[in-house]
């Protein structure tokens, strides 16, 4: 840092390589865990990852507070975060794409439409394509591997709309997007107490969403016969909402950390990138939910 003020080149750091080690442990441990060979290595990897992230981000924050970061580095962070969110968009796109393909193509084909119909109707005679799929092809031919759900999560009609959890989830999450925006607005005007207030509310809303999501899953497993194993409807439902829920968890955690930092007075009108990045992430999670609400629930 001494000879030149234009460029910021950070010192060597032990954190990245330890992060890589943690990820290696996660991969090894994940492979072992799903085979029922113990959770030890996986847990070790998770703990190591949490510790090293804590230290790593701590260092970055300290360096930033010490004024070591240049506007140029901040621009790099902005690009970094934006493209990271884009990569997340593409991850969800794979699962939305799968849902689309199943509903638009695979379902009718399984039901005997299209030029491969003769063969298909020999394999699954009498299968009725529908969405949400309540009776799986397997069941039609007497199999028991995939037993369809008794009920589904789709729009219950206007009569039951107030007791329909996804609607409340939508309201909660949309509201949180507004409150996080207000927090952003407040810090831009150096209004720290409003910032802390609205960010706190956002975190609370995130937590409420997660509780509701948990209730919904519990309901599905306990009362609706809707599980991961109940065929392609349960598969797409749980994978899409599940990954979204995971992202909400991460987002809530990230915002919570920013809230703590806010209470400590880390942010000011012209220095709040840590918070800003998390708020972008939060808006992204929100938009994904809108997609879910429309394609998984309303049109489900």
């Amino acid at each position: 840092m001494s000879s030149d003020s234009n460029y910021y080149v950070p010192e060597q750091s032990p954190y990245p390589v330890v992060t890589a080690l943690a990820m290696g442990l996660l991969a090894l441990g994940g492979g072992l865990a799903v085979q029922g060979k113990g959770m030890l290595i996986l847990t070790l990897g998770l703990v190591l990852l949490a510790v090293v992230f804590y230290l790593w981000f701590g260092t970055v924050i300290k360096e930033n507070m010490a004024g070591m970061t240049s506007p140029q580095l901040k621009r790099s962070y902005v690009w970094g975060m934006s493209w990271f969110i884009f990569s997340e968009v593409m991850f969800f796109a794979a699962f939305f794409g799968a849902l689309f393909y199943i509903r638009v193509y695979a379902m009718p084909w399984l039901g005997g439409e299209g030029d491969k119909s003769d063969m298909i109707s020999l394999i699954w005679p009498g299968f009725q394509p529908e969405w949400p799929l309540m009776v799986n092809p397997d069941q039609v031919v007497g199999g028991e591997k995939f037993v369809g759900p008794e009920k589904n999560m789709s729009f219950p009609g206007w009569g039951g709309v107030l007791g329909w959890l996804p609607l409340w989830n939508t309201i909660v999450l949309l509201t949180s997007s507004v409150t996080v925006h207000w927090a952003h607005h407040a810090i831009k005007h150096n209004d720290r107490s409003k910032f802390n207030l609205w960010l706190g509310v956002t975190v609370a809303l995130g937590a409420i969403f997660l509780v509701l999501q948990y209730l919904e899953y519990h309901h599905a497993y306990a009362d609706m016969g809707l599980t991961l194993e109940s065929g392609i409807y349960g598969t797409t439902f749980f994978m899409l909402t599940g990954f979204h829920g995971f992202h909400v968890t991460m987002g809530t955690l990230m915002l919570f950390i920013q809230w703590i930092r806010g209470l400590k007075g880390h942010f000011s009108a012209d220095d709040q990138f840590g918070f800003e990045a998390c708020s972008w992430y939060w808006h992204f999670v929100d938009v994904v939910w809108l997609g879910l609400f429309i394609f998984v629930y309303v049109l489900g």
């Binding site: 140029q72 990271f84 991850f91």
Partner: protein
């Protein structure tokens, strides 16, 4: 920032310097190249004669799978990331990459990921055996238990790729020297910018594909199981939505390398710079909408076959623009034939052959004959070996004097080239004939009438393999005992900021931004 590299192993473990990280990437990828190459030698040795000679069919399947995976994800991709690390900061006038610590993380994930993948060879049930394209249900219902390590390995390797790409994008968009407008960037920087975009867009889709596998295998979902209302063909769509852009991820940086080398040794500026940029962008765009040309035989509706056929054939247009430009650059130039140029000319010729066979495969009715035959194997080795790997060889010879400050042995370089060129063609040209005559790919045995060409092919493969040992020797010899390279410009025709730096360049390439006119 004034200080040089740290001492001892810490220099590498904790590296934040783009050159050190680039060097690690390059050596790592070469190690993977040797490992994947060893697997290829086993495959070719087994196929020397009909009948089973050396290994069991089950092991043969593991070899084809691991060869493909390691070459694509372990050898070629990291090699180009290493090149990007070394060159992009020097070519745009920056001191380093934009996010140096993340850079370190991207690299160090790879040894962990590939150790895990390679370790599956020694585990119960053996390594993955379902081909590098890991189609369900081979990779789900019928997979060995090690598939789980494969899945998690792909996850972390993918994370490495995404972080590496984000770093490259941030560097290119943010760290260019004053005056270095986008349309003044060297083509290698351009092609990498677009490659990085492709990577950020499709690596997550690959992650999605393996996640679906993981769930189907261990948690009872039915993405790829028709009994539960899913569809194994869905796997192919998701995979190839990643897979086709992936082949351009592999070849675009190679285009960038060739576009740097050919002008140097032709002593003429690159013909049609801006058309190169637009052609690269067009190829990247098209690569997203042609994926199902790998699936003509899967039973798509006719409209799908036709659409994917015409869209695929469109790619030949921007690709043709590129080949035209390289030839036009050489046309009328004062050409000299040093090793990098030899590899580059071979690239243009052989990649064009690969492009043409691609065009043949793009035609749905014809592909129904060629699909899953050795013709496809020949096609993609013409583009991936004579394309990507030849361009890497060219790049190493071209920039090695800059990196090390030492000159390599031209005689040995030329020997390497001719062995590689001959070995490669002897290996893969006959595979066109084998494929057209009906020899299917991915089998450990074959019918008697295919014997002669298989023998030829195996001989060629060992020549090509031996050539790489010579390459390794030449590089090491350069580093330890090479003659000093010229001060700055190794090649009289070379243009670009990296040639304004001393050889070897200072630890932090440009500590004050150079002025670009």
């Amino acid at each position: 920032m004034a200080h040089g590299p740290a001492k001892g192993i810490g220099r590498w473990l904790y590296a934040t310097n783009h050159k050190d990280i680039g060097t690690m990437y390059l050596w790592f990828s070469f190690a993977m190249f040797i490992l994947g190459g060893a697997f290829a030698m086993i495959i070719r040795a087994e196929l020397f004669a009909p009948g089973m000679q050396l290994i069991k069919p089950e092991f043969f399947n593991q070899m084809t799978t691991m060869h493909g995976l390691i070459m694509v994800f372990g050898a070629i991709m990291p090699a180009f990331v290493g090149l990007a690390n070394w060159l992009i900061p020097m070519q745009i006038g920056a001191p380093d990459m934009a996010l140096p610590r993340m850079n370190n993380l991207s690299f160090w994930i790879l040894p962990f990921g590939f150790s895990l993948l390679a370790a599956t060879l020694f585990m119960e049930g053996g390594a993955p055996n379902f081909g590098w394209t890991f189609y369900a249900p081979l990779s789900t219902t019928y997979a060995p238990p090690t598939v789980n390590f494969f899945i998690f390995g792909v996850h972390i390797i993918g994370a490495s790729s995404i972080m590496g790409s984000i770093n490259i994008i941030a560097t290119v968009l943010n760290l260019r020297a004053p005056g270095m407008t986008l349309m003044k960037m060297p083509l290698f920087v351009w092609t990498w910018l677009i490659t990085a975009f492709l990577l950020v867009a499709v690596m997550p889709v690959l992650a999605g594909a393996v996640t679906m596998m993981l769930m189907d295998i261990n948690f009872g979902t039915s993405f790829f199981d028709a009994a539960g209302g899913g569809d194994p063909v869905l796997f192919q769509h998701v995979f190839w939505f990643f897979g086709h852009p992936e082949v351009y991820i592999i070849i675009l940086p190679a285009f960038g390398v060739i576009s740097a080398i050919i002008p140097t040794f032709s002593r003429k500026p690159l013909f049609g710079y801006s058309s190169m940029v637009y052609a690269t962008s067009a190829i990247a765009f098209l690569s997203f909408i042609v994926w199902a040309h790998h699936m003509y035989t899967v039973g798509m509706p006719l409209a799908g076959e036709l659409y994917f056929m015409y869209a695929t054939m469109l790619i030949a247009v921007p690709t043709g623009v590129k080949v035209f430009n390289w030839i036009a650059t050489m046309f009328g130039g004062a050409i000299s034939y040093e090793t990098p140029m030899l590899f580059s000319i071979a690239f243009v010729i052989l990649f064009t052959i690969g492009g043409f066979t691609g065009l043949m495969l793009a035609m749905a009715p014809a592909d129904i004959q060629y699909h899953d035959s050795y013709f496809v194997v020949a096609h993609f080795h013409y583009v991936m070996v004579a394309g990507a790997v030849f361009s890497m060889s060219a790049a190493v010879y071209y920039w090695l004097p800059k990196w090390t400050g030492k000159m390599y042995s031209e005689a040995m370089g030329k020997t390497h080239f001719w062995l590689a060129f001959i070995g490669f063609n002897v290996t893969f040209f006959p595979q066109h004939f084998l494929g057209l005559a009906g020899m299917p790919r991915r089998y450990a045995d074959y019918a008697l009438q295919f014997t002669e060409w298989n023998m030829v092919s195996t001989v060629g493969a060992f020549i090509y393999g031996a050539a790489q040992i010579l390459f390794l020797y030449n590089v090491i010899r350069t580093i330890v005992a090479g003659t000093p390279a010229p001060e700055e410009k190794t090649w009289e025709g070379a243009e670009g900021l990296e040639w304004t730096l001393p050889s070897p360049p200072p630890f932090h390439s440009f500590s004050t931004p150079p002025e670009v006119k």
